[in-house]
Structure formats: structure tokens, C-alpha cells
Subunit: 522 residues, 2 copies
């Protein structure tokens, strides 16, 4: 002890009890764990996350068995359950060279001092690495809790260029993928068990899981499988009224556009109507726009950002509507995990706050700061996403070739799979307008329903488990997205990604299974 | 629409309401935001995180002003508020070369195909990169939600070597820093507002913030500043009884060892007693051991892992005590952010579960899977941490030189700062046994207390704000760690990191401020 003001004190002596008190919950000699499924957070128990549930665990088991040389009815597991484009060996989308070169230089900047380095790293990759490191310092240092200032500036520039409206870097938060942002925002806005948040059916199960965890009420709204999975805003308004009349404080509405698992791209007018509804009914909009770069019908169904459609209200001819542009509270999410980069493993994304109360914004900032900051390579990924090489840059040509190649491949696979799936008996499928999935509707014979019931499974779970056992293809049952088998027709759904490298072989494997399945339960 | 089974249906037509219903909460024409501090999650409002609070925000403002060329009473801001070793320009601990070389190769594996690459990248860095990529595939792909299998195996080997007891990779979870792990575990174990978790005073504010967020009861136990900040296990037992008698369901106890902010290393016997207490009182132990490699008095105060001390009970001569080894539920946390790597920006860490109920473990896994996986570069950082170069490896010599250099520097700074701080009037300070901080105790004159009161500040906040305004040094008041100014003496505390590169200048800046402050309020 250095210093002068302390008076030395003896520490309080203690004689720890060394006896074994029998716990109030356990008999003598018996020790019941403190944490059991009876004692832990019941909301954790309630949360479901089908993308990585029973089927996914069984697929992992099969993959291990194959790796150990065991014989199974198939020689590879196809993880079509999760949008993980770079997963080896069956998906294996190649990373974008520009991204990885910049990442490598930021990891090990000494490379830039090596003679001849410009043969390995184009000039613009070195410039970008220096620009980023000039602000960040080191990828091993915490950044600002909102994310590095330079990346947030670039995000704001990207949004301004996309939408034609100003964007403030101070209202942009870099996140651990979009999931991290969605969870943070829900945590802020859920005030208690009476809070309601609207989610689409079918939906990405992050939303239902987070609502279960934070103990809020999901208020479901249906996407229409018979009309491009569109939203029925009128029906949504009614749902809000109904939920409110039953005491649920509906305060937000999550919209996934382009849709997951459904692949729809909302029309400009549909988004306008949603925004009007948000204003009239006073709900915050959560716009999950992580698939904004995965657009397959750009003429018929281009991507419209909620931010742009919202700000466009300022130009409305209806004076009453102009006010909407500055009122409706909107959080827009984006991610590096999808698009053509598919860099999920970096865990990068951002959200932008629009029309958010400044005091609430301060609370969002505080909450973000408790987790310190998102990973720096995730942040650098966001920089690559929003500020790709420009024409004239040394990397441009290769970048353009790689990205257009990936885009064309995804589009081709998506179309081919939709066509071939749709040609199978009992399978209907909407071709994707966007995103990375198909969501086929499957009509199965009554005997299959009976067999599912016998095994204590939903019919879509049964079908997907059988598919996995027979083919090694892992997909997610529609019920995992909240889309239950139809009551009248019994038809059910499943989600598959369109990422499998060997599309023809994939379709064939699936087709054979499906045909055999129909025969078996005819 | 491809397929046959659909019958075309007209979508339900809708006519969205375009009128402007005046909200129930707002008058006509007035639009009150849905989210305000009156409507959001009240637990978010309650959470405090002093490490990045008012003082830190003011420091950020000063740094911007200096960057813009404005004149201030100092020419640099010293961010001694947060353990961010690589932060530029004032801390600037150099990253370990081995880490960054492996990271760069995993980002851009094509480098390994370049002729002459072995001049830039030692053979063992290439081998490690290939080993990791052989399991991971790509750093852009999601891994298993627990983290990549290969890294978890290496963690288990590290723990086995450290403790001399088996470790199961399936009970190891890679996390987004230790913070991510702590938050996940607390979320699982907090069942409702009656749940109590013991936290030390002073404590790292992540714990109090997370307990506020998840709406649980902090049950405080004091570390004794007059006895090496030791734990009084007897007093802790009494606190548990007292809290339970008042209806709090105390079920876990967080211990930070080595301590933050206090720097103490618990003795083997102190840890034994804590484990006995955990058994007798039935509480889960949360052992935050992120500073286990920052040990400054290895002879007098070596690091003992809770896992080892727990398993050692199996060898007890007391038959009744042997059972403890397999009963007490323990979660041990580690991180890449501290130690000598200081790679906070990668966001990597892990926790190990010991004696955890298997069904609870399944719930932990499910919860981890909702966030998909920690960043791959964070996971690779964990691999570097637990499996450094060995003697004989090409990188070994440089690695040993860099790590021993950083360790010696930290130790030297810590000792120098403690000595010089302790020599100032009214300042007492315990030399750190471990971690990256000092936690000086400051006795201030009555006039300073009066001035603080006048400004509506706690005296330690006032002192730290004055320090920042005068010197640009940003530290955290003791009250931010729950350590309030002493009621009898009025003495207060602050935490400073020992990371400032220019230690002499740092100490001088601070010393001048302190002396002037005492004079001003004499």
C-alpha cells in the first residue's frame, strides 16, 4: 500500500461454514442444480428459432458422420436451411476480392510497406485500408459505440445517393449483423408484457424469438400467398384495433422487404399505404431491408427503401400528408451478410433512425455502449458494402465481374429451382422477386398427415425431416416461420435457400425424394 | 406462379384510411412520437454504464475540438477510462505480429499461393491459417452457433493444460467478447424481478447495467480496500440470507478475478471459501477471469482459475467436501480484449460451463443460436489466445519478445503510477496485483465537497470532470463502479487504466491538476 491517509485495519475475520446445509429444495445428501428448466427464465424456454433447431442439429450430426467415413443414403449434407452463402463445401460462394484485400491490409498494415506489394494489392485497396486505419487506428481497438465515424459517414453517403434525401451519420449505428440491431431496438421499445409488435406471417424467426425473449406480444399479419405475398394494410389496421381493444399496446410493425422467407418486393404504393397506416395508427416501422441488393425483377418489382418513400411524402399534393415525412418513426436495417457479398461471418450491419425522439436516441446509444462496439472487421465490411470500387479504380473491373457473376448465378438458380420445383406434383412455388429463398407450398396426401400425427410432428416438420433423412438436404418447415399448414387444404410450406452450388443435382435429389414420398403415402 | 394446385384468388381489396385520426394521446394536429422516455422500456432508462457516460462523451467532444484545431488547456485527450490498449494515438499498444499475420491470411488466403510469400509470412502462420480454414471454410461464413469446432477444441486443450483437468469442447461457447457471454448467461438465469445476483462493490458496470436491463436484483458485496480488496465470504453468506429473507431469490454470484477496477488477485483459500459458500448457499458462480494473463505479483498472488479450485475439491481429505467438485455450477469467462493481446476490436471471448444441467445447456445453445454466431475474426483471435506459437515455431521468438515486452511495460507502468499517485497528498492507492487499472482513493477538502453539491454532482464525478477539463485525462469516478464516496471520511475513488504510453507525462499532468485542485478548494 502506497500512500498516507489509510489507517491500517484488520480485515474482518471470517470462519466460513464448512457444514453441508441441506438445501430447502433438496433432501439430505441430494443436490439439485440451481439452474434447471424449472427455474431459469421462462421466456428463454418459450423462444423458438427454427432456422437452427431439431432439423439443423440432425443435419450437423449427419455431416459429422459423413466426415467420419460413415455410410448414409447420401454423400453430402446440403445446408439449405440458412442464408450462409460462403459455407463450405456445398455452397461456397467466393468472397469478393476487393473486400478481402482491404480486410487483409487492415489486419496487417505492415504489408503495405513491403516492396512490390502493389502487384498483390491494387492501389485502391491500399488507399481504402489507409483511409480506414486513419480513423480507426487499429482493428484491435474498440471503436465508438455507434461504430467508427468514417464508416458511418460512408453509410450516410450511400443512403443519400440511394434515396436522394439527407442522412445523418449520428443517426446511423453499426451493428453485429442486422440481428444485433433488431434485438437492441426491440429491447428499447418493449416496455412490458402488454407491448405489441406486428410481425408478418410467414416471418424470419428472429422476430418471434426476440418478442418471446423480451416477453412482448406478437401481433401477426398475413402475407397473401395468392397475391405475390403482398400486405393487406386494411387488415393490418383492423388487427391493430382489435389487439388494442384487448389491451395490447401495439407500438411497432416489422416489415421484411424484400421478404424472408417469401421473397416478395413490396410495391411503392404498398409501402406508402403502410406508412400512412403507421401514421394513422401511431406505430413505429421497423424496415428489415437486408435483401435490398437481391432483386430479380428490377423492372416489375424494384426495391424501394422505406426511408425514401417516407421522405417522398414531403412532396405530396395532399397538404395533410406532407407532415407524415417528418413524423413516422422509422428504423431501417441493412447487413453485409446477404446481397452479393454474403459475408455473414464478419457480423456487420447498420440501422438508421428516422424521426426518432432525441431522448430515445440517447437511450439507444447508451444501450449500444454496454456492448462496447461491433467487431471492427464487421464495420469494415459495412464500409465495403456502402462504398464499393468506382469506375476508374484499379479494382473496379474485377469487382464488377465478380458481383455481376454472383448476382446472375443467384437469379439463375432461383428461377431454375422455382421452375423445377413447380413442375413437381403437389408443389406450387412463387418465383422470388428478391432475397435468397424459395418458399414452396406442398400439398401432401392424407396418409402423410396421419403418419406425421402418429409421430407427434407437424406435417411440414415430418416432411422436412424425411427429406433430410433421405437426401441430406436441410430445409426449414414453414411452421418455423409461423406459417402453419393450411387448415382447409392441409397444404404446408418449407423454405429453401437458392445457394446450393450444384443446382441441378440439388433439384434432382429433392425431386426424387418428393416423388418417392408421394408414392409412399399415396 | 409456377405450379398447378393454386386456384387464382383475387386479393382482398383494401382502401387504406387516408384521414388523420387524432391520436388518443395527442391533440388535433399534434403528433407525439410513439417512443419517448415515458413510453420505452423503463429498465433501459435505469441501466447505467459509466465507462462510457457523461465524462466519456465530454472527452470525445474535446478530442473532436482538438482535431479541428481548437485551443484547449491541453493538447491531447487521454482516454484512461476504458481498457482499450490499442487505441490511437495515446495508448497505441502494438498488435502481436503472429495474430495479425494469421488474421490477414485467413482474410485473403490467396496470399498463400504467391511466390515468395514465406518471406512475409512465417511458415507457422500459414499452417495455422490453413488449419483454421480447413475447419471454418471462410471467415465470411457463419460458424456453428457455439463457435467453430476447431477453436473450441483448442480452448479445451488450453484449459486442460492450465488446470490439469478435462475440458469438453461442447461446453465451451465462443462469444462476442466476455460481455456478450455475461449478458447471455444473465438473460438465461434471470427468471423474474425477484431473481438476485451478487455483484462485488466496486464492480465492472456491465453487471449492474445488465441486471437493471433484465430487471433483476443486484445483491452487493463489498471488497475490502484495507485488505487487498479481498472478499469477506462470511459477510457474503449473511447478505444472501438477508436478501432471501426479504424475498430475493439469490441464485448467482459474479466474481471478477483478477479484479476490475480493483486489480486484486484472489488467494486460493479465498476462492475455496467462495466455492464452499456457493455449495452451501446454492448459488451459481460466474467467474469473470478476463485478466488472468495480467498478473503482476506471480509469487505472492498467482492466478487460480475457479475451475481448477473447484475440481481440486475432488481431492479433498474431507469426504463431505469431495462432492462439491461435481456440484457447484460454474461459468468461467475469458476474452481476447485484455491480457497482452488487447484485441478488443475483434470482439472475441469464450465461456466454459461446469456442472451445468444438460437441459439448461440446451437452452443456452438455443439462445446463442438466435444471434447466429460470434464474428469469425473474434473466434480466430480466441484461437491465437489459447494456442500461441510454441518454442521451435518460426514465429516463437518474435512472439515471446513482443508479449514479454508488453507484459513488462504494463507492470512497470502500473508500479510507477501507483508509486507516484501514492506520493500525492490525499491519494492512497493499492498497487495492482493484476488487470489493467488502478483504483486510487482520494481524500478531498470540504470545500470541494461543497462545490460538488452546489453543482449537483457526486464529489468523485466533480473531481473527474474537473480533471478532464484541466488536463484532457478521462477517468471513471468510483461511483460508476458502485463505490460511493465513504460516508465517514468523504474519501472517494476513481479508476484509471495503466495503458497511457507516456506514463511520466500522464502522471505529471494528473499530479499538477490534483495539487492545484487541493489548493483551489483548501
Amino acid at each position: 500500500m502506497y500512500g498516507s491517509s489509510y489507517t491500517t485495519q484488520a480485515s474482518t475475520s471470517y470462519a466460513p461454514s464448512r457444514g453441508f446445509a441441506s438445501s430447502s429444495k433438496a433432501g439430505a445428501g441430494e443436490y439439485v442444480p440451481v439452474l434447471t428448466t424449472k427455474t431459469i427464465n421462462p421466456h428463454v424456454l418459450e423462444a423458438e428459432y427454427a432456422v437452427r433447431g431439431e432439423i439443423s442439429n440432425r443435419a450437423n450430426k449427419y455431416a459429422s458422420q459423413l466426415a467420419n467415413g460413415e455410410k448414409l443414403p447420401f454423400d453430402s449434407v446440403v445446408t439449405a436451411n440458412i442464408g450462409n452463402p460462403q459455407q463450405m463445401p456445398y455452397l461456397a460462394q467466393k468472397p469478393l476480392t476487393f473486400w478481402r484485400q482491404v480486410a487483409a491490409l487492415t489486419e496487417y498494415p505492415e504489408l503495405m510497406d513491403q516492396p512490390g506489394i502493389s502487384k498483390l494489392f491494387p492501389k485502391d485497396t491500399q488507399e481504402r485500408a489507409k483511409l480506414l486505419l486513419g480513423d480507426i487506428g487499429s482493428v484491435g481497438a474498440y471503436s465508438h459505440s455507434k461504430g467508427a465515424a468514417i464508416v458511418r459517414r460512408h453509410v450516410a453517403e450511400f443512403i443519400e445517393e440511394r434515396d436522394g434525401y439527407p442522412s445523418d451519420p449520428e443517426l446511423i449505428y453499426l451493428t453485429t449483423g442486422a440481428s444485433g440491431g433488431v434485438q437492441l431496438l426491440l429491447q428499447v421499445m418493449i416496455a412490458g408484457p402488454e407491448t405489441g409488435v406486428m410481425i408478418p406471417i410467414p416471418q424470419y424467426p428472429l422476430y418471434s424469438a426476440a418478442l418471446a425473449l423480451y416477453n412482448a406480444q406478437p401481433v401477426r399479419y398475413d402475407l397473401n400467398p395468392f397475391d405475390d405475398w403482398s400486405l393487406d394494410v386494411n387488415a393490418m389496421s383492423k388487427s391493430i384495433d382489435e389487439a388494442r381493444s384487448q389491451g395490447t399496446d401495439v407500438r411497432a410493425c416489422a416489415v421484411i422487404n424484400p421478404g424472408n422467407p417469401t421473397g416478395q418486393c413490396l410495391s411503392y404504393e404498398n409501402i406508402q399505404d403502410l406508412i400512412r397506416m403507421a401514421y394513422n395508427k401511431r406505430v413505429v416501422l421497423l424496415a428489415d431491408e437486408v435483401y435490398q441488393a437481391n432483386i430479380y425483377m428490377p423492372d416489375r418489382r424494384p426495391f424501394h427503401s422505406f426511408k425514401k418513400v417516407l421522405r417522398d411524402f414531403a412532396k405530396s399534393e395532399n397538404a395533410d400528408e406532407r407532415i407524415i415525412a417528418d413524423k413516422v418513426e422509422l428504423v431501417s436495417f441493412h447487413s453485409i451478410s446477404k446481397g452479393v457479398s454474403g459475408e455473414c461471418g464478419r457480423r456487420g450491419g447498420y440501422f438508421e433512425l428516422t424521426n426518432m425522439d432525441a431522448d430515445v436516441e440517447a437511450q439507444i446509444y447508451k444501450l449500444a455502449s454496454i456492448s462496447l462496439c461491433p467487431s471492427l472487421q464487421g464495420q469494415i465490411g459495412v464500409d465495403m458494402l456502402v462504398k464499393p470500387p468506382k469506375q476508374g479504380d484499379e479494382s473496379y473491373e474485377l469487382y464488377a465481374k465478380e458481383t455481376s457473376g454472383i448476382h446472375a448465378t443467384l437469379q439463375e438458380r432461383s428461377e431454375k429451382m422455382a421452375k423445377k420445383f413447380g413442375a413437381l406434383e403437389g408443389v406450387d412455388v412463387e418465383p422470388a422477386q428478391g432475397a435468397l429463398y424459395l418458399f414452396p407450398r406442398v400439398t401432401l396426401p392424407p396418409k402423410a398427415h396421419e403418419e406425421a400425427k402418429k409421430r407427434g410432428k407437424k406435417v411440414d416438420e415430418f416432411y422436412c425431416l424425411e427429406m433430410l433423412d433421405a437426401t441430406g438436404i436441410c430445409v426449414v418447415p414453414g411452421s418455423g416461420f409461423g406459417k402453419m399448414p393450411e387448415e382447409d387444404t392441409g397444404a404446408c410450406f418449407f423454405r429453401t435457400t437458392v445457394l446450393a452450388k450444384e443446382t441441378d443435382e440439388f433439384v434432382e435429389r429433392y425431386g426424387k425424394f418428393h416423388t418417392d414420398f408421394l408414392k409412399k403415402y399415396a
